[in-house]
Amino acid sequence: MSQWHPQTEQLVEFAAGTCHTGISVAISVHLHYCPECRKRLSELESASAVLFEHQKPIAVSDNLFASVLSEIQQGKVTESVKPAAPARATSRYPKALSSLIPGTLEELEWRSPMKNLKVTHLMTDESGLIVGLHHMKAGGRVPNHQHRGDEISVVLEGGFSDELGTYGPGDFIFRTEEDVHSPQADAHEDCLMLSVVSAPVKLTGALGWLINPFLKA
């Protein structure tokens, strides 16, 4: 089970649907691995539903029910009794990534900004958050780097460690711009992570001026 979770505020905003798409994707991926946060989310949604039911009702236009019904009866709404197909079984990745990773990892466009690290860009959201994948070679260490903005990483496969901890599948790692770290993948297995960054990372260290994995994203 995952040891590193989104903050309460992040989960609250996820439940309310108010966080940016990039963060929502990261939280959704974490939820795939974390029954504890799924339970918390279910509580938050239950709480939201209570608030929702306590709103002052506002009348809808008189003919609205008739027009909904006629749309149904004209057969435009067809999938009524068919339960949704279990999409998840077909992919090895969480559902939130199914549109972003439609095929295999090899089909994505990877760049290798430095030894031991490959990165790919999946999307940029409405607020400019960049969502991508990071692939670290088993045992590989990424040079010390600092973030100009916040970074969220969610481990998908394998694991890594840095100055602050050791992480495995599903772990949700939130770094603010003050943090400088140099992650190293576990020795026995490559590490695949989802990464959400609010601004291109800036490498510190000796080679820092050379490399910016997101420059051409």
């Binding site: 795939h32 029954p35 929702f52 506002i58 609205l64 939130a96 549109s99």
Partner: protein, 209 residues
């Protein structure tokens, strides 16, 4: 508008709702099952009469009408159609009917707001807030217990906490946006929400009911 509405309704119903269990929960779950099994339009109409005006209030609370007078009714229509379409995937063992309907309204509102902002999303709200994926059964009973705690907790909240809860949970505003709107430090908004959640017995950290 809706934070104020929530608050006024809260105080007026106070005494009554605190002791009552919630038979409505059963009624709406039954109606959803009738829609799923028999395409029962009478049951669907009961759901519409109760939930459509709440969905409209939910639409207005996010300011949807400011982008077009027709939009709140359009959201109601889309949500009600989605309820019809997805009713077969509703499982009362997993969620209270009101929770399930809230999540549909939330997802449809997210998609509509994104369409309006001209942002072409790469991922739909249903993919991110996956309604069908739960494998574990939290259970209607457990959910209604959570909801009961929330109901009771709500009445005990001081006005400032209630107001912030309504804004953060319903009005499509992040903690930061609520802080900006109310002229409060972000930390104050966060701590009001946390205090309110504590009173409603919602998990903040590792916690088991």
């Amino acid at each position: 508008m809706s934070a104020a509405n929530v608050i006024s309704i809260l105080s007026s119903k106070k005494a009554r709702t605190m002791t009552e269990p919630n038979p409505a929960a059963e009624q709406w779950a039954d109606a959803l099952e009738l829609v799923a099994k028999r395409q029962d339009t009478a049951a669907f109409e009961r759901l519409f009469k109760h939930f459509a005006p709440l969905i409209k209030a939910f639409a207005l609370s996010s300011g949807l009408h400011k982008q077009g007078d027709h939009l709140p009714d359009e959201l109601v229509q889309e949500v009600m159609l989605a309820i019809w379409r997805k009713s077969a995937s509703y499982d009362r063992r997993k969620a209270a009917a009101s929770t399930w309907i809230f999540t549909i309204a939330r997802n449809q509102r997210i998609d509509m707001l994104r369409r309006l902002s001209k942002y072409r999303g790469d991922v739909s709200a249903d993919e991110i807030w996956d309604l069908e994926s739960d494998t574990e059964l939290f259970g209607e009973i457990r959910q209604s217990r959570v909801q009961e705690h929330v109901r009771i907790g709500l009445y005990e909240l001081p006005v400032d906490q209630r107001q912030v809860m309504a804004k953060v949970f319903l009005e499509d505003k992040s903690h930061q946006e609520v802080a900006d709107e109310m002229g409060l430090p972000l930390g104050t908004v966060k701590s009001r929400v946390r205090l309110a959640m504590k009173k409603m017995k919602l998990s903040l950290e590792a916690y088991d009911l």
